[in-house]
């Protein structure tokens, strides 16, 4: 009689495997929850860090978008010998003729004039404020608005009337425009008519006191040359306009014109977001590692506790492979549980924080997918040794040595 025939081998069906893998977790819920908690914390930390970083970046980009990236500025530069190269007075109207340029405004720094609360303030206490002549439609171009009062108009531009930039108002201690309120500019009183909100794209304006071009020439000895020209171009023509700007502004001396795109700085800032993520991701990884040790620990205890179950299953016909798969699946499930909870918590934290900051909530796919994958890998690695131990246990030892 031959005795080498193979009666057959069976694989567990997925539904049976799921039932086996969840049995241990269902019967020891608190323990399973606690051991998954470590992984959950790690994944939550990682998801929240990546999510917050992405959301704040999105917030900044949204702000940039709102401010517009089509603002170009041309400022007076320096000549080879170190002197200032004035922009021609005709520079602004010339630039307005560049194809695709929508609006052109300018400001001109009034040299030698300071702005003070009154005539008795020592003239050395300038507060770093500048006095600038400003054109009449400046505000929409630099994307700012009035915090209080009115801007200059064709009439007030002729008269000793001033508008304060956001920082200047703060430094002068003025937060409100009262009728008849005056400040002392270049040795005479100027009536205050408005206060601006911060201009993110033109921070020079924040620390400036703005007066009309005619008034500046009339009362402050201004030479009429603009020092900064602000222009908005059609989005698709920004680069073309950028190239033409220096030549158009000052055809005689194009190298004496500095052209810049202020939104570049913000874009760079947005790109730089996440520079500190590494540290927090590292902390998240440590939490994950601790979670992995927790899962491994629980699984080893579980194998010790369930010796008789393992023995019984072997007696019922389970192979070593069946036992190994059961315990490995349980560990994977623990990891997955932690991962899913972690992603949920991390995403919620991101959403809540982003909401308070009025950012759009963005969870990068690599954050949640990575979190779940990492937790599965951790479950597998942490469960491997316990599962192998369970599978190695001989049925007689498991059933008779308790």
């Amino acid at each position: 009689m031959t005795a080498t025939a193979i009666p057959g081998r069976r694989r567990l069906q997925p539904s049976d495997l799921t039932r086996l893998a969840t049995a241990g977790l269902r019967t020891r819920k608190l323990r399973a929850g606690l051991s998954a908690l470590g992984i959950a914390i790690g994944v939550a930390a990682i998801v929240a860090v990546l999510g917050l970083s992405a959301s704040s970046q999105a917030g900044l980009l949204a702000e940039i978008n709102q401010l517009g990236t089509n603002l170009l500025t041309a400022t007076n530069g320096q000549s080879a010998t170190g002197g200032t190269v004035e922009l021609p007075t005709a520079a602004a109207p010339m630039m307005g003729r560049i194809n695709g340029v929508e609006q052109v405004q300018s400001s001109g720094k009034v040299s030698g004039a300071g702005a003070y609360r009154g005539p008795f303030i020592p003239s050395t206490n300038t507060n770093g404020l500048t006095v600038e002549a400003a054109s009449l439609n400046l505000l929409p171009v630099i994307a700012t608005t009035l915090a209080d009062g009115h801007y200059l108009n064709a009439a007030t531009a002729q008269e000793p009337v001033a508008v304060l930039g956001a920082t200047s108002a703060q430094l002068l201690g003025i937060d409100h425009v009262y009728p008849g309120e005056r400040i002392w500019i270049g040795g005479q009183w100027f009536y205050l008519t408005g206060i601006l909100r911060p201009a993110v794209l033109a921070s020079d304006i924040d620390s400036a006191v703005l007066v009309g071009y005619p008034a500046a020439e009339k009362y402050l000895g201004f030479d009429g040359h603009p020092s900064t020209i602000y222009l908005r171009a059609q989005n698709e023509r920004v680069n073309a306009a950028d190239n033409l700007l220096a030549n158009t502004a000052n055809p005689e001396n194009p190298s004496g014109v500095n052209v810049s795109q202020p939104s570049d700085a913000l874009v760079a800032q947005a790109d730089a977001k996440g520079a500190f993520d590494g540290l927090f991701l590292g902390l998240g990884a440590v939490a994950l590692l601790v979670g992995a040790v927790g899962v491994a620990n629980i699984m080893i205890i579980s194998v010790l506790e369930r010796r008789s179950e393992i023995g019984l299953r072997r007696a019922l016909g389970a192979t070593r492979g069946h036992i190994r798969t059961q315990f490995l699946s349980e560990a994977l499930l623990l990891g997955l549980l932690g991962g899913v909870v972690g992603v949920a918590v991390g995403a919620t934290a991101t959403a809540v924080y982003a909401d308070t900051k009025h950012w759009a909530t963005i969870i990068p796919p690599e954050a949640w997918a990575g979190g779940i994958t990492a937790s599965l890998i951790i479950g597998a690695v942490a469960g491997l040794i316990p599962a192998l131990r369970a599978a190695r246990l001989s049925p007689t030892q498991a059933l008779w040595s308790i």
Partner: protein
């Protein structure tokens, strides 16, 4: 190799598929041939010293001996839970010692049922699922497992409470669940290790009556016990001492059947 689930009623056919020659009706279900088992150690322990035993289909056999006589080792070898140091153990003609582990496991899944002194029931699962687990590793789908588990519960007189938890049952009822689990795949042989060891005398008697009843219905059952009183009730009594069979007696009453 055959991969079709083979209900034990078709065992002969399945075995024939595997190229096994089954001797006519009455071929031994269990055939132990000059088996020894030595546990390594200092000094090595010789648990079995040349055991020969044949159990035919439909027999009810008691293996009785004091503790340390080797009866548990014999059960482990009969149940293919361990391999002999020498000799052969054949279950329905298949030599377990010559098979890889996976196939021995499948042999257990389909042809051997176990009943243990400690019942070993899963407390979080229902009675029905505990019994149905007896078919889990034989590759039977869950629906059929539960149907057959109900049948098995009927056999042991517990059909009314399939959804109870083992913790809600008495010791005797738990052992009935364990017996149903052993029977659910209609194994060629049921091995019971001190099945009444954890029960009081009355309950124990009820369990023995149940085994008797199952035997009458055609099951092949081997009961391992240290209790001669239990062994006396059985139609065949195999006494084991110091790793050897010292007596093998059949009661005349059962010889005729």
């Amino acid at each position: 190799m055959t991969r079709t689930p083979s209900p034990p009623s078709e065992d002969t056919a399945a075995a024939a598929d595997n190229g096994i020659t089954i001797k006519g009706p009455g071929a031994p279900v269990l055939d132990i041939d000059d088996v020894t088992k030595t546990y390594p150690g200092e000094p090595p322990v010789q648990a079995l010293r040349g055991v020969n035993l044949t159990v035919g289909p439909g027999e009810l056999v008691a293996i009785v001996g004091p503790s340390g006589s080797g009866k548990t080792t014999l059960l482990q070898l009969m149940g293919t839970l361990d391999r002999p140091t020498s000799g052969r153990v054949r279950i329905t003609g298949l030599d377990a010692a010559a098979m890889p582990d996976e196939d021995v496991a499948y042999l257990r899944a389909t042809r051997i049922g176990f009943v243990f002194q400690q019942f070993f029931l899963a407390e979080h699962a229902t009675v029905l699922d505990n019994v149905a687990d007896g078919l889990l590793y034989a590759g039977v789908p869950i629906g059929e497992r539960r149907l057959r588990a109900l049948d098995a519960l009927e056999l042991v007189g517990l059909a009314e409470r399939p959804h109870a938890r083992p913790t809600q049952l008495s010791g005797g009822q738990r052992q009935r669940v364990a017996i149903a689990r052993a029977l659910v795949d209609q194994p060629a042989i049921v091995l019971a290790d001190e099945p009444t060891g954890n029960l009081d005398q009355a309950t124990g008697h009820a369990i023995l009556s149940l085994l008797d009843q199952l035997h009458q219905a055609g099951s092949t059952i081997v009961v391992i016990t240290h209790d001669h009183a239990i062994a006396e009730r059985m139609p065949r009594k195999v006494e084991i001492l110091d790793g050897r069979i010292v007596a093998d007696t059949r009661s005349v009453r059962e010889e005729s059947s």
